[in-house]
Symmetry: C2
Subunit: 186 residues, 2 copies
């Protein structure tokens, strides 16, 4: 039985979850190979520039996902803003697997090569803020307030994920998501 080509989406998903869990330095090539079901050599075939390229790839994927899902939904004026808000929160819940997964944006922000990744990470934070700001504005919040509060959404979500990760208690994350609508439109 010849080896089958492993689907790129499956590899991407495994790279995402492994970097999220272990961070850049903690995710060794050996671990990444086992997680994806590929050999190290096959990973280098797909990512000639190695681990750094893999991390940049998953961060680029994350930005695309946020643009195509969160931002697209959040700016779709054919939907009522209240519904968009719920959908946007649902997307965050999905991305962070209900608070059970460390946030890739945070785990890749510390350690070797972290500085190289920060522009990608900021892009993702900006997309999330952009989405929530659009919703808030359409709910009648003035633009300046909407911008401030949508940035705070990132702050609250990241803080809750730190605490959920350390305590293994997802309620920090769940409660934070639940409080966002009230906070955004207070």
């Amino acid at each position: 039985m010849r080896s089958q080509k492993v689907a790129a989406e499956d590899v991407d998903q495994k790279l995402f979850s492994t970097f999220s869990e272990l961070g850049y330095d903690g995710a060794s090539m050996e671990i990444l190979a086992k997680a994806t079901g590929l050999s190290k050599a096959s990973l280098y075939h797909r990512f000639p520039d190695g681990k750094k390229q893999m991390a940049e790839h998953v961060l680029t994927n994350a930005a695309e996902f946020l643009q195509e899902n969160l931002v697209k939904t959040a700016t779709d004026r054919s939907i009522k803003p209240e519904i968009r808000l719920q959908k946007a929160l649902g997307i965050l819940d999905q991305v962070y697997e209900g608070g059970s997964l460390n946030c890739l944006l945070r785990t890749l922000s510390v350690g070797t090569d972290a500085e190289n990744f920060k522009s990608y990470i900021m892009k993702c934070f900006d997309l999330i803020a952009k989405g929530f700001a659009a919703i808030a504005i359409d709910m009648g919040i003035d633009a300046k307030t909407a911008k401030t509060r949508s940035k705070d959404v990132n702050l609250l979500v990241q803080g809750s994920l730190v605490l959920s990760g350390v305590t293994h208690d997802r309620s920090y994350f769940k409660n934070t998501l639940a409080k966002i609508p009230g906070y955004l439109t207070a």
Copy 2:
């Protein structure tokens, strides 16, 4: 000129800042040796169980510092609670170097051996929450509300440190500290 014994407090400080900046996996023994000004062998002389012991040591130090400074101040009823609150925020500002330093509690929560460190990390979060809860209660907030909001202090501070770290913009942290008094006693 013989080699002088390096002061333990200086070593501790360097271990703290290096683990804070690079995380557990990113802080290699080579880097830790250079940061402390000791050889790797000398570090092993002081910490026979190696890097893991060093990380546990700095976390234990952090808990002692929080107890002896933040908690002690926060529970000192000879001081007006409003003053205690400002002192407690000053201590957080000092610990995190105005938002310029990654938080040790966060950087050690990801990567190899992270699970072993989480009990130490939780202890530190509990001490911070304990301090702010005591202050809030003495400012007239009921115990249950005080407990919830003091936990949120950790959430807000951690979230702001993630964003300040990624963007190199300390205002997330500074603004968060400034907002805590209003939030705690709203």
